[in-house]
């Protein structure tokens, strides 16, 4: 157990060092940080002064060490575009992204698991067939096209729901939430459906195939032979085991989720971190790009580790290895 954890921890640290190095190279060598900070028409002496205050005249190794120190204390530089600390920017956009991602994931899980079970138990029911063929189209439909079609139908033609922004927000301490106002909730509907759809497809197919596997195993047949109630067998015995891989895959899909959140936020002009990132690409706002990379890298590494560790707790067989 301890060996497994320490190996995982070492790998995680290595990945983080690699990501930090890439972010450092971006900060330091992409574009000219000095040119973006001095006033127009500055003299060479002024530029040198800025260069010295930024520590850019020191050896690269020293600069990297300083950079790592800054990152560890949460200092990710200043955005070229907004002239604000990047950390503040990211944190102010975090609630929007988190609320969207959480609602989408809850939506995907609460629809995906029942539909997957249904497709496994009653493959010939009308609803199962409909879902099965819908997933085929769902896979080939890019997220931004789904979003566009939803906007076209529900915002442009029917005028039921807003197509962009977060609506009215309510401040709870530092957190601005859209959950507590009607327009906030209405604004959440279309983006969260768009983001949920791709997860939904994946979860549904996974639950279906796992459920079919589990149902053909011996212990389920014995449970039937013992005359246990069907709801108990399906709900407690079978589903519980079928859900194990869902935990892993949902955890590991976090990368895809971030990528699709970027697209969804851009389509619906949802003021989260993804939109901040796409705008930074066009500007180009290098500190924001580098900080986002660091943030995503950190998120991946942490979640992968948590999933790995969680799994050893859920599945006792892994502990002995």
């Amino acid at each position: 157990m301890i060996r497994l954890f320490s190996v995982r921890l070492l790998q995680a640290i290595l990945v983080m060092v690699a990501v930090t190095a890439i972010a450092f190279v971006m900060f330091r060598f992409v574009g000219d940080p000095v040119a973006s900070m001095v006033r127009e028409g500055a003299t060479q002496a002024e530029k040198d002064a800025v260069r010295a205050t930024l520590g850019l005249d020191k050896p690269v190794v020293v600069q990297f060490a300083t950079f790592v120190g800054q990152v560890l204390t949460g200092d990710l530089g200043t955005s070229y575009r907004y002239q604000q600390p990047v950390t503040t920017l990211l944190l102010s956009r975090l609630p929007a992204t988190l609320e969207l991602v959480i609602v989408a994931t809850v939506l995907a899980l609460s629809l995906g698991i029942p539909l997957g079970v249904l497709c496994a138990l009653k493959p010939n029911a009308l609803l199962s067939r409909l879902t099965q063929s819908a997933t085929l189209i769902g896979i080939s439909m890019p997220t931004f096209v789904t979003g566009l079609l939803l906007i076209l139908v529900f915002a442009v033609n029917l005028r039921w729901l807003p197509s962009s922004g977060r609506g009215d927000l309510v401040d709870i301490g530092v957190w601005q939430t859209g959950f507590l106002s009607l327009s906030g909730l209405k604004s959440l509907i279309l983006p969260s459906i768009t983001l949920a759809l791709f997860q939904l497809t994946l979860i549904m197919r996974l639950v279906r195939s796992e459920m079919i596997d589990v149902l053909s195993s011996d212990y389920i047949r014995f449970a039937f032979a013992r005359g246990l109630p069907r709801t108990y067998i399906y709900g407690r015995l079978a589903l519980r085991n079928a859900l194990m891989p869902v935990v892993t895959v949902t955890g590991l899909q976090i990368g895809q989720l971030i990528a699709f959140a970027i697209v969804t936020e851009t389509v619906f002009q949802w003021p989260g971190m993804g939109l901040l990132f796409t705008n930074a690409v066009g500007y180009p706002d290098v500190p924001v790009l580098a900080a986002y990379l660091l943030f995503v890298g950190f998120l991946f590494v942490t979640i992968n580790m948590i999933v790995d560790i969680l799994y050893t707790f859920i599945d006792p067989r892994l502990r002995t290895r």
Binding site: V15, G31, S140, F144, V145, Q256, V263, T278, V281, L293
Partner: protein
């Protein structure tokens, strides 16, 4: 009897329809300048008089413009044909580049094993843990910061091909590595080693032809993904510029007119994109199931 066994060997109807669709699209792409009613890059060939005409099958449509016109009076059929061309070329380019990179690295990793293998596969692990779109957006941002606007315009297709391929090579490398490890244990490779052939020749001339079929299957599955990634990047504004629009750029442009009721400017290129990706996916799935059952669904 003969026809019956032939029937059984034929792929299902869906796959044949998909192949037909892809074939037609390829012909359209190759002969786009001859087929397109007008050249969208030639300002003289269209006029603002024709702007915002709905598709021909709708009320107020014009038989000259089958799918309607955009805000500048350009015929959407022509614009989409040229856009499709750019999308397909970038998709194919990314697949070829990724395959070459992945095959070479996979061969080397599988052939030499040990430390070389370890290094290549750990690099692959890092690449694969980041989603393609994220990496491609980062590369696009870096390219924008480093290159001037005009250089960026000229280099956009190459930057796109590079940024899509840099993430996708991992799949090829993993498969090729695994197959190479199987092949090097075979007699023909041992014989080649014994007679002292150089490693590069054994890899290229002897092992590669034997593992090419799985590479082709991955390439087909990958093509749909590459075209989608390109479209997404262009839609986000990090891909092809409006002067040389791909399907994604066209949808991005059309997106601005969604609220003016000019839905066809975005929906028509989007439909073509979805049909193309769906068709390639159907073919890819079929190939995967039939030629390489070991490959897992992504």
């Amino acid at each position: 009897m003969a026809t019956q066994s032939l029937m059984r060997r034929l792929p299902p109807v869906s796959v044949m329809v998909a192949s037909l669709v892809v074939l037609i699209m390829l012909i359209l792409v190759i002969f786009a300048p001859l087929i397109a009613p007008m050249d969208p890059r030639d300002v003289a060939s269209y006029s603002l008089m024709d702007m915002e005409i709905p598709p021909a099958f709708m009320e107020g449509g014009d038989p000259r413009f089958l799918l309607g016109t955009d805000n500048q009076g350009r015929d959407l059929v022509s614009v989409i044909l040229f856009g499709l061309r750019i999308s397909v070329v970038i998709g194919l380019g990314a697949v070829v580049f990724a395959a070459m990179l992945g095959v070479v690295l996979g061969l080397i990793a599988g052939f030499f094993g040990g430390v070389v293998d370890g290094i290549v596969m750990r690099i692959a692990d890092i690449f694969v843990s980041f989603p393609t779109i994220l990496v491609a957006l980062l590369i696009s941002g870096i390219a924008r910061a480093q290159l001037s606007a005009e250089t960026m315009l000229a280099w956009a297709p190459l930057v796109l091909i590079f940024s899509i391929a840099i993430n996708e090579w991992v799949q090829y490398a993993r498969t090729v590595r695994a197959s190479t490890m199987v092949e090097i244990a075979r007699d023909y490779v041992r014989a080649a080693k014994v007679i002292g052939l150089p490693s590069a020749r054994i890899m290229g001339r002897h092992i590669l032809p034997n593992i090419m079929s799985s590479v082709m299957v991955i390439a087909t599955i990958n093509l749909a993904g590459a075209i989608l990634t390109e479209a997404t990047l262009s839609f986000l504004g990090a891909g092809m510029p409006p002067t040389y629009p791909s399907l994604g750029t066209l949808i991005r442009i059309g997106n601005q007119f969604l609220f003016s009721g000019l839905w066809w400017i975005a929906v028509m290129p989007a439909t073509v994109l979805v049909i193309l990706v769906l068709a390639v996916n159907v073919i890819g799935d079929y190939l995967r199931d039939h030629f390489n059952p070991k490959l897992m669904a992504r």
